[in-house]
């Protein structure tokens, strides 16, 4: 689905005469492979380059070096830009700044309108996508009256209506309250399960990563760790080095382990820890 080889992106700052002032390497030789239908989480602290990577997948930025292929299409080829944007949709952080129309259904229809879908089919797609994110009853509302989580789901519906193979969510929950956050993440998982859409969730909340198929950890433009959530969370010390907040349950389990209680490595959920402690207590 997504295949990146030695992807490099440099932000070059120039002074008024156009001389190079400084170069910031946001992506430093990234290798990434995502299979169709996977739920991938990308974790990273601020400035780790995770948003830059997201924009590459959607052909909003072009690489300084290396190659990136999305859904079999080379992103660096000019003619591929729109096909790539159609097959890899993108949801951004700020819910207000990505809703274009003043009625929910019109906003969801914006993407299909752009790619020239016939009118009848637009209506059908809008209805399907709004139903998929559970926002069908708000179809004729104004987006201004919706909560943050609802707006973000509308934005996801807007991407779904373009029938993408893959959706990149760039910190979709950073500006939401806990309820809205849960809603958005649940919606992403549902789309992944039911519609088989590949999901790339970019976040710095570790709790949202727990149910992902695979996790990539980025730091200073490099992929520094990758594996299943369990593999990642079993390395608490290393995660802290990359300035990431480990879930409290995992920290607790880690501390119990260090003090001699027989708890497995990389505990992710509360129930799991309770079971492990009970088991340890019985022996």
């Amino acid at each position: 689905m997504i295949k990146a080889r030695k992807l490099v992106h440099e932000y070059i700052r120039r002074d008024e005469e156009g001389n190079v002032e400084s170069i910031t390497t946001a992506l430093d030789h990234i290798d990434l492979d995502v299979k169709p239908g996977e739920f991938i989480a990308i974790l990273g602290h601020n400035g780790s380059g995770k948003s830059t990577l997201a924009k590459h997948i959607n052909a909003l930025l072009t690489a300084s070096e290396g190659s990136l292929v999305v859904d079999g299409k080379d992103v660096s080829v000019e003619e591929n830009i729109f096909p790539v944007r159609q097959s890899a949709g993108m949801v951004f952080q700020n819910p207000d700044n990505q809703i274009i129309a003043s009625v929910v259904e019109e906003d969801v229809g914006f993407g299909p309108e752009n790619i020239g879908v016939p009118t009848g089919e637009i209506w059908q797609r809008v209805e399907e996508s709004l139903r998929a994110v559970g926002m069908l009853k708000y179809r004729s509302h104004s987006p201004n009256k919706l909560s943050g989580g609802q707006k973000q789901r509308v934005a996801i519906a807007g991407v779904m209506a373009m029938q993408p193979r893959c959706i990149v969510l760039d910190e979709p929950t950073a500006m939401l309250d806990p309820d809205g956050r849960k809603d958005v993440i649940r919606t992403a998982h549902e789309l992944n399960r039911k519609a088989g859409v590949t999901i790339l969730l970019i976040t710095h909340y570790m709790e949202e990563v727990v149910d992902a198929d695979r996790v990539f950890v980025m730091d200073r433009g490099k992929v520094v760790m990758q594996g299943t959530p369990r593999e990642i969370f079993s390395q608490v010390g290393k995660l802290r080095e990359y300035r990431l907040d480990v879930p409290q349950i995992t920290i607790l389990a880690d501390m119990l382990r260090q003090s001699g209680v027989d708890v497995p490595l990389g505990v992710l959920r509360r129930e799991e820890l309770v079971d492990a402690i009970l088991k340890a207590a019985q022996i």
Partner: protein
């Protein structure tokens, strides 16, 4: 406090006028304005009044909503009436000091007041029965011929609809910044006009910065959803003429012809 502002004064109701295609309404309003400024004679005046009353009745918008629009231009109307009254040359009826009141002056003043009132009522019927979005759509479609000579019609319409979408967001943001600055001791209320204008600077600068940031984000979000200007775009809600729209066109044209006929044959008494 800023949240109460409603833009575009759409009055939702289920009427024939509401259901008309926005293009018909735009065209009808234009024709009506033209007719107001070229009618002559009492018969034409009655006809224009009847037409207006008919449309207002048909729109199901309460009359007091219309009158609200009139209040705003009351001063303008008074000024035009006064100038017309005193400054029209002709046979003086009576005069005091340097001011002369002529028969023609009285006639012009009255006519001007009637024309302005009808103009405001006529145009507010359009804004009251059409949502801003419909209006933008209608404008885009009606102005499409101009895109051949290089007018970016689609871009203008897109800008208008985005502006409409962001007005409530920016108003909310203004409110927020205002409160933040007030919490830091800013004073927006007291002082003379110059001082008040100056105190707006700490409000406007952050507002502009944030508006530009939003514009940047929005542009990226639009690009990510394959927005590529007007080419190859389809419409989710295309404008299509129906029977009632054709009927409305005919009605408006018949009205214009009648006004022009009155102008030629029934000029009395003006």
């Amino acid at each position: 406090m800023l949240r109460d502002i409603t833009l575009g004064q759409y009055y939702p109701a289920d009427s024939v006028i509401h259901k008309l295609d926005p293009r018909v309404k735009l065209f009808g309003t234009l024709i009506y304005i033209i007719s107001l400024f070229c009618f002559r004679g009492i018969a034409a005046l009655l006809l224009a009044t009847a037409f207006l009353v008919g449309v207002i009745k048909g729109s199901k918008v309460p009359f007091r909503f219309m009158v609200k629009g009139l209040k705003a231009i009351l001063i303008l109307m008074l000024i035009t009436a006064v100038f017309n009254l005193f400054l029209t040359p002709g046979e003086p009826l009576f005069s005091f000091w340097v001011l002369k009141v002529t028969w023609e002056g009285i006639k012009n003043a009255a006519l001007m007041a009637i024309r302005l009132t009808y103009l405001i009522l006529g145009t507010s019927i359009m804004t009251l029965t059409t949502t801003p979005n419909q209006l933008t759509d209608g404008l885009e479609k009606s102005l499409m011929p101009f895109s051949r000579i290089g007018v970016p019609v689609h871009a203008i319409a897109m800008m208008m609809s985005i502006a409409l979408r962001f007005i409530p967001i920016l108003i909310e943001e203004t409110d927020k910044i205002m409160k933040a600055q007030m919490a830091r001791g800013a004073d927006f209320e007291s002082g003379n006009l110059l001082k008040k204008v100056k105190s707006m600077i700490p409000l406007l600068v952050p507002l502009f910065v944030s508006a530009f940031r939003r514009a940047d984000d929005l542009a990226m979000a639009m690009e990510a959803r394959c927005y590529n200007g007007g080419q190859g775009r389809t419409k989710m809600k295309p404008l299509r003429y129906e029977r009632r729209d054709r009927l409305a066109y005919v009605t408006v044209l018949v009205y214009l012809v009648l006004i022009l006929l009155c102008r030629t044959f029934l000029r009395w008494p003006m």
